[in-house]
């Protein structure tokens, strides 16, 4: 039986360094499921609590699936959920092996590889920037002669704009190329296969950028939220800062964004679970930049509440478990988050102004997730934020203003 004392047994795949742990664990607690957590490194308590803790090689989905199939013989699972790009692939493989609800592993793998993704989307007629995959072993000067400028270079598999660099000239292309090559061999980057051997160069698409948060149920995309990104993302790096929902774009544009994302999901073969899509919108319509088989990253999901207060993570877990979901409608007030960018490299000493920032009108919470003494690495090599500011009120413009005011009240001492 996949229940324990009446509780469904749920496996969460939680990398040790994800921001998503607290919100998913809280959701599991709210739903009263029997929670099993797997990470890529062993927990200190795994030997004492083998029914609740597992170590899995997320980088090898088939191996992870085999390990879970063996483990679950005596402890059947009702659902498995991954929380980021890497664990989504492992979760899909596990779900396929055990007959649980998820998109097909090949579809999730295609979404994970930016080159494969663009190939699938382009073949299906979904608008994507013109792209080329370039081997890191190639001569960058020669490679640069084959692209149009401005262009954007990016790794095949990293997320959250890590390693994404705009180049307007051959000289900038070469610098970006070498910077990405160096990034991919850093100790804190885990890539293998094509992701370690290639990068992607693609046309720079001007326009407004939005993020769509959705849930696929039996192949149908339900749009949970559409976020505007009011700060211009024009490079040379593409640091994400403010997300505000609902979008202030005209309804027709929002419908076009949803239709394009639906087409992208179909092209990839994604059918079940959360999707997070990034699109650019200009006079030619929406362009898909990324589509991932996971939910929004960081702590950003805290902006979202559904129905009578359900969190995004509760919805995702309920869907995976096959439980009913009372409402997928986001609450009416506007909401937003600022991912506090790292202004420069150094060591964080302290943060001033937290009380003043928290007291800003319409601000709900300010979370400083970096700790004193932490080494800070800005984009494009970095992978962390200083923290998150959350605001909520009736109008999107007021949410955006509140986030900017609160941020201006924070002072970070970095040596």
């Amino acid at each position: 039986m996949s229940t324990v004392g009446g509780s469904a047994r749920l496996l969460l795949l939680l990398p040790t360094r994800t921001y998503r742990t607290e919100d998913f664990v809280d959701a599991a607690r709210t739903l009263g499921v029997d929670l099993v957590c797997a990470s890529e490194k062993p927990s200190t308590l795994e030997a004492l609590a083998p029914d609740g803790l597992l170590t899995l090689d997320f980088a090898d989905p088939e191996r992870a699936a085999a390990a879970v199939a063996d483990w679950s013989k005596a402890r059947p699972l009702a659902a498995v959920v991954g929380v980021d790009d890497v664990t989504a692939a492992a979760a899909a493989a596990i779900a396929a092996r055990l007959g649980l609800r998820a998109s097909a592993p090949a579809a999730v793998a295609a979404a994970r590889d930016k080159f494969q993704m663009r190939q699938c989307l382009a073949a299906a007629g979904v608008p994507v920037p013109r792209f080329r995959r370039i081997a890191l072993a190639d001569n960058p000067v020669l490679a640069a002669r084959g692209v149009e400028f401005p262009c954007v270079l990016k790794p095949l598999s990293l997320s959250a704009s890590r390693g994404v660099i705009r180049a307007n000239t051959i000289e900038q292309f070469v610098v970006a190329f070498e910077r990405i090559a160096a990034l991919l061999v850093r100790d804190d980057v885990t890539v293998s296969g094509d992701a370690a051997r290639y990068l992607l160069a693609e046309e720079y698409v001007p326009g407004l950028e939005v993020a769509l948060e959705g849930l696929l149920i039996r192949g149908r995309l339900h749009v949970l939220a559409l976020f505007d990104k009011p700060d211009p993302l024009e490079g040379p790096f593409f640091e994400e800062t403010i997300y505000v929902t609902p979008s202030r774009l005209p309804d027709a544009v929002q419908r076009a964004i949803a239709a394009t994302t639906t087409a992208a999901c179909a092209a990839l073969g994604l059918t079940e679970g959360p999707v997070h899509a990034e699109l650019r919108v200009n006079d030619d319509g929406p362009w898909v930049l990324e589509i991932a088989a996971r939910s929004i990253g960081g702590l950003c999901s805290r902006t979202l509440r559904f129905g009578t207060g359900m969190t995004l993570e509760e919805i995702i877990l309920r869907h995976a478990l096959g439980w009913s979901i009372a409402s997928l409608e986001r609450e009416r007030p506007a909401a937003g988050v600022m991912m506090i960018p790292i202004p420069r490299a150094g060591v964080l000493r302290t943060v001033h102004g937290l009380d003043e920032a928290s007291a800003t009108r319409h601000v709900e919470d300010v979370v400083i997730s970096a700790h004193a003494g932490q080494e800070l690495i800005p984009l494009p090599e970095g992978w962390q934020y200083l923290g998150f500011i959350f605001a909520r009120t009736e109008r999107p413009a007021d949410v955006e203003d509140a986030l900017r005011i609160a941020h201006s009240r924070l002072r970070f001492v970095i040596d």
């Binding site: 939680l14 990398p15 040790t16 360094r17 994800t18 921001y19 998503r20 742990t21 607290e22 664990v25 809280d26 599991a28 607690r29 929670l35 099993v36 957590c37 990470s39 927990s43 200190t44 308590l45 795994e46 030997a47 004492l48 609590a49 029914d51 609740g52 803790l53 929380v83 980021d84 790009d85 890497v86 997320s159 959250a160 890590r162 804190d188 990253g297 960081g298 979370v367 400083i368 997730s369 970096a370 700790h371 004193a372 003494g373 932490q374 992978w383 962390q384 934020y385």
Partner: protein, 97 residues
């Protein structure tokens, strides 16, 4: 009105923390301190490498709580009262994903 735990339950929780949990989490430079047991709910704080650790919730819910409930079935919940924002040496630091 909440009921204080019998000395027996509190001391049994303390014993579990001392003999099983703390020796294990010490491997990551962490420790757990029992604050109180009330109405069969265990309140604790996490320090050292556990304070501010990105995996602290996993350690708590899938490790510590499960272990305590298995050994002491009368315990209904284990609650973390730690201010994780004050952790200065977390074993795992959260990053983008």
């Amino acid at each position: 009105m909440s009921e204080a735990a019998t000395p027996d339950l509190k001391s049994r929780v303390q014993d579990l923390i001392d003999t099983m949990i703390n020796p294990a989490v010490a491997g990551h430079g962490g420790f757990v301190e029992l604050i109180d047991v009330q109405d069969n709910r265990v309140y604790l704080t996490m320090g050292g490498g556990c304070q501010g650790c990105g995996a602290a919730d996993v350690t708590l819910k899938a490790g510590i709580e499960r272990l305590i409930k298995e050994e002491l079935p009368e315990v209904t919940e284990v609650l973390d009262t730690t201010d994780h924002s004050q952790g200065t040496n977390p074993y795992y630091t959260a990053g983008k994903s």
